[in-house]
Structure formats: C-alpha cells, structure tokens
Symmetry: C2
Subunit: 250 residues, 2 copies
Amino acid sequence: MQLFGIKTPLIKPGDDMAGVLIESMKDAGIKPHNNDIIVLAESAVATAEGRVVRLESIRPGKKAIELSKLYETDPRKMELIIRESDELLGGIPGVVVTITKGVLSPSAGIDNSNAPEGCVVLLPENPRKSAIQLREKLMAEYGCDVAVIIGDSRTQPLRLGCVGIALGCAGIEPVEDVRGRKDLFGKPLMITRRATADNLVSAAQIIMGEADESTPAVLIRDAPVRFIEGSEDIPTISREECLYFGCFKK
Amino acid sequence: MQLFGIKTPLIKPGDDMAGVLIESMKDAGIKPHNNDIIVLAESAVATAEGRVVRLESIRPGKKAIELSKLYETDPRKMELIIRESDELLGGIPGVVVTITKGVLSPSAGIDNSNAPEGCVVLLPENPRKSAIQLREKLMAEYGCDVAVIIGDSRTQPLRLGCVGIALGCAGIEPVEDVRGRKDLFGKPLMITRRATADNLVSAAQIIMGEADESTPAVLIRDAPVRFIEGSEDIPTISREECLYFGCFKK
C-alpha cells in the first residue's frame, strides 16, 4: 500500500474541489489508477462548498447565551453548534459534545482553524453526497474507479491526540464485516468489524498534517479493502450498544 | 509513505519474536531502511512472550463470580480481567471496560481470538518494554534506526468497527505536539496534538487484517513522523480532561 500527499493552493469558498484536485495531482505528476482511494480533509471540502461563516454575522439566541456561559464558549459559535447539531450530549469547558450528521462531534465539527480571521468553517453540508459527487467527477476525468473519503479528526477516550475519522465515503465499504471469518486456530473471530474508512483517514492524516502544510488530500494506492459500486452510510451504533456510553449511563 | 505486510508462521509461546520477524522479512525480500517503522500486533508479541493462559487452570474468586453474572462473562475470564486490570470502570453485557496498563481496554485486552481452543491471550506484560527490546534486536541486525510499535484494536464511541491503537512504542514520538504551529491563515492551531502512533497502527491494520491471514507485522517506510532516540510512554489524559468521560460524569 502506498500513500501520496497532494498539495493544493489555499482552498477558497466557491472553488471547484474536484478541479483543484485534478490540477494539483497533475502538477505533482500523480495520475490515479483503478481502485485508488482519495482521502480529503473535511475542512477543505467544506470551505470549497462555502461553509465559511463570519462570526459577527451570527446573533446568538437565549439558549446559546446560556450554554456559552456553562461551557465557556463564544456565544455566536454556540449558536452555530446548536443549529448544526442533531443533539447536544454534554460538555466540558471549551467543548460541547454533539451528534452532528449522525456522528459524535465535539463542537458540531465547527473548526476555527484553517478559516479566515473572525470566521469558522462548518462541516460539509452532506459529507456522503460530497464524496459521491467528487468521485463521479474524478472517475469521469480519469476513466477508472476511484473511491473518495471525506475525513476529519477526533480524540479517543482517555487518550491524548487526534486520530482520523471518516464522515462520508463513496466507492468502498466503510466498515468491513468479518464475522464469517475464522481466527488462526479456526475459531470464529472476536473482533468482527473493521472500521476501514476510519483507518484509511488515520493513515492519510500521518501525511496531511493538520496545519499550514496545504496537503488536504492524500491518494492511497493498493489498499486491500472492499470496493463497491456506490456509497453506503457510515454505520454508527446506539448509546446502549456503545461500550463507553453504556458503561457510564449507570 | 509505503506499507509492506510481513507474513509469519503461526507464532507460538516461547518464540523469539525478533528472530521470527527477521526470518519472515528475509523470506519476503524486505530489508529495513533507516527510519522504517515496524508495527506488530500485540497478540503475536504476547503469544511469543508466553502470555497464553488455559482457562481451565483459573479458579475464579468471589468477586469474579459476581461480576461474571452481572456482565455475562465466563467467570474464569473475569478473574483474569480483575487480575490484569488497574481499574474496572463498568461494562455492558459481554464486555467489561477497564484501564489496563494505563490504557482504556475492553476486557483488559484479553483476547479469545487467535488463541488455541480453551485459551486466552493476555496483553504483553509491558508493551513499551517489548517495543524497546524488539527495536534493539532489529537495529543490531540491520545496523540502522528502526522504530517499533505494539498495536491493538479498539472501538470508538458510538461507532461500529475497530481502529488501531498503540500500546507501546520505541523510536518515535507517540503523540506529536503541534501547539507552536499556525494554521493556513497564520492563527494558532485548534487541533494541537496528533496521535501519530495510533494513526500508524490504524494504517497497519488495513493490511494486517484481524483473522487467519498471519500478517501480524507491517513495515512502514517514509512516514513523515518525528523519530527519537529512546522510548516515551504513550500519553493519556485524566477522566476530567476527557471529552467523553467529562461529559457523562454529570
């Protein structure tokens, strides 16, 4: 398996993300092969989609003002978090934990970094749809099968530092069900599902960095994963089935 | 960045893990370069270290019998979980969440898969020490700098499927502190730390599989990460600092 970073110019609202990618790959001498996977940082995709919001344009409501005191957050940002999230689960000073677009997301995935001064970037409106559209454009350009993943960063429980997480994908199975398989001794497997899309994003993040590197995309070649024709939602589990949540409800 | 899977024969208790790796890389025509990183599945390392336990040799105590009813687990396995873990945090049917060797570990990381019938494999006694010793042997063999990571699988909150996690490492910075860096617009970064070792394990797991593939090791070349002389503990955070835990305490 090989990974190639794709440097791009600074992405601006209204940019054609596929066009920028195609141009940047050309400049880097990278030509996608069949079953290559392109991982894109959600912040780049969201910016191109115009999801940049000037904080001074936001008037926080009563609930946002209350919660911003509780969680020590800018009330305008809190207003955006409330608008963007499906559910607020709780928080600690500085961060509100939400479910946003079905995914557990600190601060509704709203990013102050890599946004112009005084602005924040919301998550892409529909990461799966973004992945599908980008995939179609790339496949039309290169005449071969290309998979696309829109990736973000998350912390893990009781652990320092961020790893990758997939928000939407097209052309691969996001989670591989290996329940039919046997272990080295022929017994059924205990670990039954592999979060392939998340692992691919984590692999890409080693190369992407998180900062001023302008490498918002990574091409992954020869990944031994399951390719599919269309796109599947990234599966989640309920709070009751979740080790971490189930364990602390009591 | 490139990744190469290293297939090995079935690892048995008492095997010299470094010797098996060296032999297997030779067979595969892989010769480590300077700053290559070798990710090893903890189950292989633990098996070689003799951490295989026959369940029928375990007599569960009173606490294990009680907890095994509560969490619907084999009482002998529960006894081992109690012995292995620093702390039991709670659980859901079938799984007890523990802190084991400083790491959040379902069932104390005790694995029924890839163990002989009637046996389980405990985590390596000291994964960091295992990584240091393996690294020394590999560096002596190849005369160049090689980093080693001992990796495992974990689920993420509210998400289906397993990703990689590092239990111990040597020769790289496990978490890169990028707080001094600036974003694309010159502002200080919001995401401040990268879980490099965890990301490298996730990348390796794409190739390793989790099953009867006998690929317990992956060599990663040209990873743009920070190499160090010795070994650092993998940093954790307290429950109070943790988004997920902090959020549900209340």
